[in-house]
Symmetry: C2
Subunit: 402 residues, 2 copies
């Protein structure tokens, strides 16, 4: 079997943890498997390098930042390779150049285009454990690129796809994907399996286990992922195409407090007004989430939408600058809101989930401000203060009763 | 003009020093010159990385060590490039892959084979200051190699040769090459010029200003070097082919305390015995320096030679293991000796230097144990305790009187 393993920065933060990673890789190797290991930079290295750069030049070009940041993973992989060899197993470290992990040219947020598997295969066939730098690639100019935060997950999936690996294991601080945040819901259960689509909905809604792009890539190339603890040996959560005969109606309940609501009150009710507003925001790279438009009366209507709290200030600035083009009575905003969602592939064939969810929230006195749904997700916008109460009640209804 | 500048680790040890380097490069650039800058790793980075590796695996493969160490220079060049841009001048950092600095495959001690100038020329022509990682290269496997300690000097000279640079400036802690160590001889003078051969003799004899291989390479490709202070603005020392009409008889007086003397007493006087001994040592990579062989009598002779003090233990072990083949009466060693040399291209046409030197040493009561000469150098082995006295006296005779 060819197995790709990925360990994050906290898993290689010091000598002891590097040896812990090396030991797990050596165990896998000694079972007769070929092992490729993707590592992030040690501990807080990436943050420290970023701070050094910001201190020297707050407007440093991203090309130079990527050149700087990519050193972090190179340190991890060379040290881990040395650790493996001191445990008696041949190992080698490879950076993005050496593997030839070709990406687009967008520094700081590159995407993989093509990965050569020749060098890695050669090293595996010569009996080595192969450590590969996560988070980075090389573009057509031979320059170093990085994939953005969480990019090492994506590296692991991309390598697993390129190598047609039998498994892709993502080792994290948590030991799997839970039905809700265990800090909020003590009864939250670890999922044995979750589909790519469910994982994507959960990831984008605030369950910070896997980087979204890695799940998209895994879905595209049908790479089965396993999310595992880097500290304990316990079965994790498998992320794959949905195959269960009888699946749970709801796989998880998620909350996202990084949400703000904006209401444009009394807009002139004319064709194309919504397009005008949202294209202005899109041009600035502001992602709009839930959108609600009131039915017009007196030739006027209200348009509400949500953005990430972190984008609220810029959103209001854009609206203010374009006041003349929008001609609204006033603009309101509220940062004290949050999204709570239930996610589950089973909802596709079961119509009652939405009304059940609204009933549960009504029963615990939570007011719903906006609603958004997809095939496998129902999201409500509520007051931030109600989040824990809402998550607990919804989790009790759909997961604990199930 | 195209100028290659090289700054060592202490010149980029922190933010302030990185900006100091950036400012000097920007000044050069604003004079209308094209500027290529070779940097070492920041401060003690290389030592720290080496210690981390030794802690994880004291027998780490050199291939992995090079992978680790090469990150140090990549951090320096990216930060320096950011500093330049914050001073308003476009800059770019390149590592050995990106330049394509091809070396042999000997990890930890690689030699340059071929350097592509295309990428650097392209960046220079687009108006950028180009920062290049010193100390490292890439071999035919696409693996990172390093050149060994002091390799950044060699990188600078190799780049200057490949780019046909108009000048190659080596910035160091000292402001040039002196006629003697100023800490020992307060009257030591800074040399305006020194020939490649003189510099080579001085470097190998303990004047730690320039890495020897960089001088050899400069001589081979006729790259004129200037040794300058990275802290003050003052004219330095030019290292070039000898061109002076009237050159100084002696350019410098050097001392090297890393010397030990070994005497093999009462060796059987038969052909090939010296060859036998020195080939044994050569096989172990032990460099033998001065050799003295007594005239045989009673079918026996004595063979004395010097090695670096750091190689004394291993040398004695090799001799002990091969006692049977050497059949000597006994082996003596003495670590409390040192070499003092006078170096000067002018000696080639002036025969009196050796006898003058011996007379000076006799006058101050220094006993000469061994003598070795080349076209431009006279070296004597003396007691280590006499070194400062000898250097002062010889310097006074040949330089201060001159």
């Amino acid at each position: 079997m060819l197995i790709v393993k990925k360990f994050g920065g906290s898993s290689v933060a010091n000598k002891e943890r590097i040896f812990n990673v090396a030991r797990r890789c050596v165990e896998e190797y000694k079972k007769g498997n070929q092992v490729v290991v993707v590592l992030s930079a040690m501990g807080d290295t990436t943050d420290e390098l970023t701070a050094m750069a910001a201190d020297i030049n707050p407007n440093a070009r991203k090309r130079e930042l990527d050149m700087l940041l990519s050193t972090g993973e190179q340190v991890s992989v060379s040290l881990a390779s040395m650790a493996c060899e001191s445990l008696g197993v041949p190992a080698i470290s490879l950076n993005a150049f050496q593997v030839a992990m070709h990406t687009t040219s967008t520094y700081g947020n590159a995407r993989f285009k093509k990965i050569d598997s020749q060098r890695i295969r050669h090293e595996l066939e010569s009996g080595k454990i192969v450590f590969v730098t996560g988070f980075q690639g090389v573009n057509k100019y031979d320059d170093v690129t990085t994939l953005g935060r969480g990019g090492s997950d994506t590296t692991a999936v991309a390598l697993a796809a390129a190598l047609h690996a039998d498994a892709c294991e993502i080792y994290t601080d948590v030991d799997g994907v839970y039905t809700a945040d265990p800090r909020v819901v003590p009864n939250a259960k670890k999922l044995k399996e979750v589909s790519y689509d469910e994982m994507l909905e959960m990831a984008s809604l605030g369950a910070k286990v896997l980087h979204n792009r890695s799940v998209e890539l895994a879905k595209k190339y049908d790479v089965q992922l396993v999310v595992l603890s880097s500290l304990e040996e316990a079965p994790g959560t498998v992320v794959k195409e949905e195959t269960k005969m009888e699946q749970m109606l709801v796989s998880g309940v998620t909350a996202d407090k990084n949400t703000a609501r904006i209401a444009i009150i009394g807009v002139k009710d004319e064709p194309g007004i919504a397009f005008k507003i949202f294209s202005m925001l899109a041009k600035k790279g502001i992602n709009v989430d839930i959108i609600l438009q009131s039915i017009g009366r007196d030739n006027k209507k209200d348009i509400s939408f949500t953005v990430a709290s972190t984008a609220l200030k810029e959103t209001l600035e854009v609206l203010e600058e374009n006041k003349g083009r929008i001609t609204a009575e006033r603009i309101e905003s509220d940062d004290q809101v949050a999204k709570v969602s239930v996610v589950g592939a089973g909802m596709q064939t079961n119509a009652g989930v939405a009304s059940d969810m609204f009933e549960v929230l009504y029963n615990v006195g939570v007011n719903i401000r906006m609603i958004s749904t997809s095939d496998i997700r129902i999201t409500v916008l509520i007051d931030e203060a109600d989040v824990d109460k809402a998550v607990k009640a919804v989790h009790a209804k759909f997961i604990e009763e199930d």
